[in-house]
């Protein structure tokens, strides 16, 4: 075992002596995670408010209060624009809708309930009915809230009553008995507004117009909380792929420059030499896993939902690629041929296995096809521990597949290596 450790230490020294190796094994995966993490940064964030344009052509006290109510609603994101700009933004799809507060919007009940000449217009794409309906509900809510504040204004209410009285007195065709009834109601209301003390007057209109109890139930979200939960498992795989190719090429290099033979002539079995290579590759891959997962957790606040399952997932992933490393080193007799063939195979594995495009974004046929790639099973296992909330039973499946691929590749590699040497 000591000799395998000496071999592994030597290989690690050789690895770190080349800055290029360090970049591809450690630097590139970090850049990958950051770059794609930035691209997918919308993942996991809840829906932001609906962006609507507001055109305030009335510019009255009431319209300003109304806009303030809209702005205070978290479900909306208000942009103040002119009529033309607002309509243009809706046409281009940059805002969900535009609301236009026409002149006279703040002229009291007359304006608010005027059916012939609406003082509030909504400009929206007719195909987006759900958004439009949702917006109408929010506008009504804001309107009632603004009105409830006006109801608390004794003078404004008296003015409104005087307006109604004048309208009744000037109305022709209304039955005299009916008109007296309405006037009597208006007088009583006026008396109430005059005589009721402030405490009782306020209490009458205080509170929500539609009173209901809110029960907060957060919808269960099964996807990743942050994009880094997708990009860091991918980055770990890129680091491991780099490490696999580097060590596979290093075995070929040892064979071409004679150090492999020199070691075999020494008191070492072939098993010792391969164990040393495998150990060095294993240590480096584990190091990549540790650095990336600690960095992701501490710097990028990437949550790992089950650390206890992350350890076997990482372990099986690394073992699988150590086995593949042994197979790849037999694909060519020169560094160039083994490196070329090795990278070609690893790139295909990465492409179909979700190393480039996340599995979740793949079409279903490609997702089925990706079963043949160990990259897919590795990412699947790592994501299972990071955000897919795998149970132990669910984790066993990808781990067994990885171990089987690793063991078969290792065995195949050793047999082919022996055949090539003899």
């Amino acid at each position: 075992m000591n000799k395998a450790i000496f071999l592994a230490v030597k290989d690690l020294r050789v690895l770190i002596s080349d800055k290029g190796n360090i970049f591809w094994v450690f630097g590139f995966p970090v850049l990958f995670a950051l770059f794609f993490g930035a691209i997918y940064s919308g993942i996991g964030k809840g829906p932001s408010g609906m962006e609507i344009a507001v055109v305030n052509e009335d510019n009255s006290e009431f319209s300003n209060a109304y806009i303030s109510k809209l702005e205070s609603d978290e479900a909306l994101k208000i942009v103040d624009l002119s009529r033309d700009e607002a309509v243009e933004q809706v046409r281009k799809g940059k805002v969900a809708a535009a609301i236009i507060l026409n002149k006279g919007f703040g002229d009291g009940f007359e304006a608010l309930f005027n059916r012939d000449e609406p003082k509030l217009e909504i400009a929206s794409d007719p195909s987006r009915k759900m958004e439009s309906g949702y917006l109408q509900g929010l506008l009504a809510k804001a309107q009632f809230e603004a009105l409830s504040e006006k109801f608390m204004d004794r003078q404004w209410m008296k003015n409104q009553i005087n307006l109604w009285r004048n309208e009744l007195e000037n109305t022709t065709g209304l039955d005299a008995g009916q008109a007296d009834l309405y006037l009597s109601f208006i007088d009583s209301f006026d008396t109430l507004l005059t005589d009721v003390n402030d405490e009782n007057f306020g209490a009458g209109f205080d509170g929500d117009i539609l009173n209901f109890a809110k029960l907060d139930v957060s919808r269960e979200y099964e996807g990743p909380v942050t994009a880094f939960q997708i990009t860091f498992p991918q980055a770990m795989l890129w680091g491991i792929l780099g490490c696999t190719a580097t060590f596979a090429i290093s075995i070929v290099k040892e064979r071409t420059n004679g150090t492999f033979d020199r070691l075999r002539i020494g008191p070492l079995g072939r098993a010792h030499i391969l164990a040393g290579k495998g150990l060095a590759c294993f240590i480096t891959c584990i190091l990549i896993m540790c650095i990336l997962s600690i960095g992701a957790k501490t710097i990028f606040k990437m949550p790992i939902s089950n650390l206890l399952l992350f350890i076997p997932a990482a372990f099986c992933t690394v073992l699988c690629f150590v086995g593949l490393m042994m197979f790849i080193c037999t694909l060519g007799r020169t560094e160039q041929s083994a490196g070329g063939a090795g990278w070609a195979i690893l790139m295909i594995m990465a492409m179909i296995g979700g190393g480039m495009v996340p599995l979740a974004f793949m079409p279903s046929w490609l997702r089925s096809f990706s079963h043949i790639s160990p990259v897919k099973w590795s990412i699947f296992a790592l994501e299972g521990a990071i955000w897919r909330n795998f149970s132990l039973i669910e984790m066993i499946n990808p781990c067994l597949v990885l171990l089987a691929i690793g063991f078969t590749s290792f065995l195949l590699g050793v047999v082919m290596l022996r055949r090539q040497e003899d």
Partner: protein, 303 residues
């Protein structure tokens, strides 16, 4: 000490070794002289167990399996290729190979220091091997095989592509190893090296050993006569007086010079001297292993 019996090795249809047999005694320096592709490296690989023979046996110190750990520990193999980690320093290379052979602590330190001294690399031992000259790499390549102080050394063309200074250092090291009583097998295609270093030489070509003996005996058997040109102070008055002192009837006479061939050059010159002639100059061209190879194969070593 080392015995190869009827070794045969094929690479596909190509015969690399065809019934090769030889025996090397303890403390002997044995040379395998032949051109590229003659089968020298294959023989070394069979001796150290890197390859398995298709027929025949190898016996090293009484043991027939070169794969045994104790047999491997008794072998020091200097490969033809520069089997070094160029990304590491000479010191790191030596420490690593030393540890592989089970050396550690003070013993490892001492052996590494000794080997660096032998290779003349002590002052530059911390530099990366990739920065070394070809000669320095060759010297390091050799001493990496001496770390564990093996009694048997197999050197496969250890001077390929080195400068004269490094070559000389390598020769001196091998001669010193020979004097210490180590058993050495040395392969080369330079006849001067075999002639200088080896007690016995096997001439190998196309996987077959053509003959094997001491250098002197090989030359005597296959080298042909020596070529002598003698120039005298005075013009020869009667050439017939000279003829009895020269063992060759085909003698060429010029005014003050005679040219002839003989298989006993020193004896002939002594006789000629006793005839009373006064030499102005003497040119003796004796046969060498190149001539031996030429006479055995019809080709030159570097053809």
């Amino acid at each position: 000490m080392i015995k190869a019996e009827n070794l045969k090795k094929y690479y596909g249809a190509t015969v690399a070794l065809d019934d090769v047999s030889f025996e090397v005694q303890k403390g002997e320096t044995f040379g395998l002289l032949g051109p590229n592709g003659a089968g020298k490296t294959t023989t070394i690989k069979l001796l150290c167990g890197l390859l398995r023979p298709d027929a025949g046996t190898v016996t090293l110190d009484g043991k027939t399996d070169p794969g045994q750990i104790e047999v491997r520990l008794s072998l020091g193999v200097v490969p033809q290729s520069l089997a070094l980690y160029e990304e590491l320093s000479a010191l790191e290379n030596l420490r690593f190979f030393g540890k592989i052979y089970g050396l550690n602590g003070q013993k490892l330190k001492e052996r590494v220091r000794d080997c660096l001294d032998i290779a003349g690399l002590a002052k530059r031992c911390k530099e990366r091997v990739s920065k070394y000259s070809g000669g320095m790499k060759r010297r390091l390549n050799m001493v990496c095989s001496l770390l564990h102080d093996p009694p048997i050394l197999l050197l496969d063309e250890p001077t390929v592509g080195v400068d004269p200074q490094s070559r000389n250092l390598i020769f001196e090291t091998i001669e010193a190893m020979g004097k210490e009583g180590r058993t050495i097998i040395y392969t080369t295609h330079y006849m001067e090296e075999a002639q200088r270093l080896c007690d016995r030489v096997a001439i190998i070509d196309h996987g077959r050993i053509l003959d094997m003996d001491s250098v002197e005996n090989l030359i005597t058997r296959h080298g042909g006569p020596s070529h002598i040109e003698a120039e005298f102070e005075e013009k020869l008055s009667d050439v017939n007086k000279i003829k009895p002192f020269v063992d060759n009837k085909d003698i060429q006479f010029e005014e003050t010079k005679i040219i002839f061939q003989t298989s006993r050059p020193m004896e002939s010159l002594a006789k000629l001297n006793s005839s009373g002639v006064r030499f102005r100059s003497l040119k003796v061209q004796t046969a060498d292993l190149e001539d031996v190879f030429l006479n055995l194969t019809g080709r030159r070593l570097r053809d």
